[in-house]
């Protein structure tokens, strides 16, 4: 339904586009179960044309972005002989997960202005409105955010990973790590010619906790007192049981 709507919007917004992306995902729901340890998503599709393809080479960029969050980036400094947090920058909206796959090197595929306009490369996907005036080097903080999340595989720049066949068919695999946050993951497929985006196909991957995970999470947020008492009950029952078992086996 959502995808159909997105497609319809796409069609309406660009009636003059000569080229159009048609795409699908291997799955548009990711269920977080108790033993969830990441998920691979295959994104594939084709380019629909009314006229013969233009002469200049076509490129495809695929982005997957998790829910945006506020992040507080802190920096340590040497003060009075010990390392303490001295300055902090609030990044207004950073996706909890971000992968950008492209058919070539991203810096070659896309021009700087297009990147700025659509927020495609990792630094551009993060929005940081303003650092406090007492912080000297604010870009250092967003760089640190990217560095830390890239290390955890939460930010991925995947150059040359979109397979392109005959300027028509394309496919790529996005590897979602285990440490996912719940929510809608906005997925975009951009068609690029000459460094300029000519078409944009948007869809959503829904990441949700299911089963026991869902039940625990809901209980903790909707009935916190019962949840707290239940946690204590489990703790005391387990403590008592271990004691009883050990008394029985007379260790």
């Amino acid at each position: 339904m959502l995808r159909a709507l997105a497609l319809a919007l796409c069609l309406l917004s660009s009636p003059l586009a000569a080229e159009e992306v048609v795409a699908d995902l291997s799955k548009d729901e990711v269920a977080i179960t108790a033993n969830f340890d990441g998920s691979d998503i295959l994104i594939y599709g084709a380019v629909k044309r009314d006229a013969p393809a233009a002469a200049d080479p076509m490129q495809v960029i695929i982005t997957v972005a998790g829910p945006k969050q506020e992040v507080n980036v802190r920096k340590k400094d040497w003060r009075y002989g010990i390392w303490v947090n001295t300055s902090a920058v609030e990044v207004d909206a950073a996706p909890s997960f971000y992968a950008v796959a492209s058919s070539g090197a991203l810096s070659d595929v896309l021009t700087e202005t297009e990147d700025l306009r659509h927020g495609i490369s990792i630094p551009r996907a993060i929005r940081s409105v303003g650092a406090p005036s007492d912080v000297e080097n604010a870009t250092e903080f967003t760089e640190a955010l990217i560095r830390i999340r890239t290390k955890k595989n939460l930010y991925q720049q995947l150059d040359n990973t979109v397979n392109l066949f005959d300027e028509t068919l394309f496919s790529t695999t996005i590897d979602l790590p285990a440490n996912l946050v719940e929510g809608p993951y906005d997925t975009h497929i951009f068609l690029v010619r000459n460094g300029v985006i000519v078409d944009d196909y948007a869809t959503v991957i829904n990441v949700n906790k299911v089963g026991l995970e869902r039940w625990i999470y809901d209980l903790a947020h909707q009935k916190p007192l019962i949840y707290g008492l239940l946690s204590l009950f489990i703790a005391i029952a387990a403590g008592w049981m271990a004691s009883a078992v050990f008394r029985y086996i007379r260790f």
Binding site: I32, T33, A34, N35, F36, D37, Q69, E70, V71, N72, V73, R74, K75, K76, W78, G81, I82, W83, V84, N85, E90, V91, D92, F141, A144, L145, R147, I148, R149, A178, N179, V181, K209, L212, E213, R214, I216, Y217, A220, H221, P224, L225, Y227, G228, L229, L230, S231, L232, I234, A235, I236, A238, G239, W240, M241, A242, S243, F246, R247, F251
Partner: protein
């Protein structure tokens, strides 16, 4: 086997958690400490968000303390009367501690203060216990020296004297109340049960026998940490049941084993081991503050 924790929203190895729970449980049973001062930093280290680690750890301490205290009840090494007096002080202290914590957070730098608290208290207590136990061991090895008579300090000059039969003490209720209160405040600020402060305080300030100290400390810790768990669950939603269950399965088994090891060891040996462990954790935390970290930046949840 990887397991996804519903509240912490991270995926960790289930066996790692069981093992950590087990090791900390053994120590908890042996020394009568909740193990929070060890487990909480360990949980940070494996990537559990600090807020979740602190809250869930409180829940886990309830389980391992309960398991441990039952073994002590069976052995009649719990001074219930003393426990209740300490508890009254402890709950009052915890309530005050939460207020202090809120004020500190508004001032900023609460992380640093908590760490400094750890380093200072663990350092002082570990050091004192270590040298005291060394002296005790040396004394017992040279039979010629006369054992020192128990000192009658200020503790015995206070009013409201009560008989604590299990501990064999006839002292005022004021010192245990003050000890409970002080430990309660620190426990709330540092996010631990407070056993590692309580145990030495009971031995050195109140003059309780070591064997009774452990059971009584566990008894008091159960109630203080249960109170903390409920507080965290209802205000911050940070108690992770799945994490707690894994930790406590390891923890309760460990606590049973630890209690039995503790009975077999001599009091001095027990104290020297506990002091070494406390000094170890203190040194690790102090080094973290002193040595330049490889990553100067850290990420925290936003919001004002």
């Amino acid at each position: 086997m990887q397991i996804y924790l519903p509240i912490a929203e991270v995926s960790v190895n289930a066996f790692l958690l069981l093992g950590l729970g087990g090791i900390v449980g053994i120590l908890s049973g042996m020394f009568g400490v909740g193990g929070g001062f060890l487990m909480t930093p360990l949980l940070f280290f494996i990537g559990i968000p600090p807020a979740v680690a602190v809250a869930t750890e409180a829940n886990q301490i309830v389980a391992s303390s309960f398991s441990g205290v039952l073994a002590h009840f069976k052995r009649r090494t719990v001074d219930l009367k003393m426990g209740v007096v300490l508890l009254i002080g402890g709950l009052t202290g915890a309530a005050i501690g939460v207020q202090v914590f809120t004020i500190l957070r508004e001032m900023g730098q609460v992380d640093l203060l908590v760490k400094l608290c750890y380093v200072v208290f663990l350092g002082i207590i570990g050091g004192l216990m270590f040298f005291e136990s060394l002296r005790a061991i040396r004394r017992s090895k040279s039979p010629t020296s006369v054992p020192v008579r128990k000192k009658h300090g200020f503790v015995h000059a206070l009013p409201f004297k009560v008989k604590f039969r299990t501990s064999g003490l006839y002292i005022s209720v004021i010192p245990p109340l003050v000890v409970g209160l002080f430990v309660g405040i620190l426990a709330a600020i540092m996010g631990v049960g407070g056993g590692f402060i309580m145990v030495p305080a009971m031995i050195y300030i109140l003059g309780m026998p070591t064997k009774v100290v452990i059971g009584t400390s566990l008894f008091q810790i159960i109630f203080v940490t249960a109170f903390t768990t409920l507080l965290h669950a209802t205000t911050n939603y940070t108690v992770d049941m799945a994490l707690a269950v894994l930790l406590l399965v390891g923890g309760v088994v460990g606590a049973q084993i630890g209690t039995r090891i503790g009975v077999k060891l001599k009091a001095e040996q027990l104290r020297i081991l506990l002091s070494l462990m406390v000094i170890g954790v203190c040194a690790k935390l102090a080094l973290d503050l002193l040595i330049e970290p490889s990553e100067l930046f850290s990420l925290g949840a936003g919001g004002h």
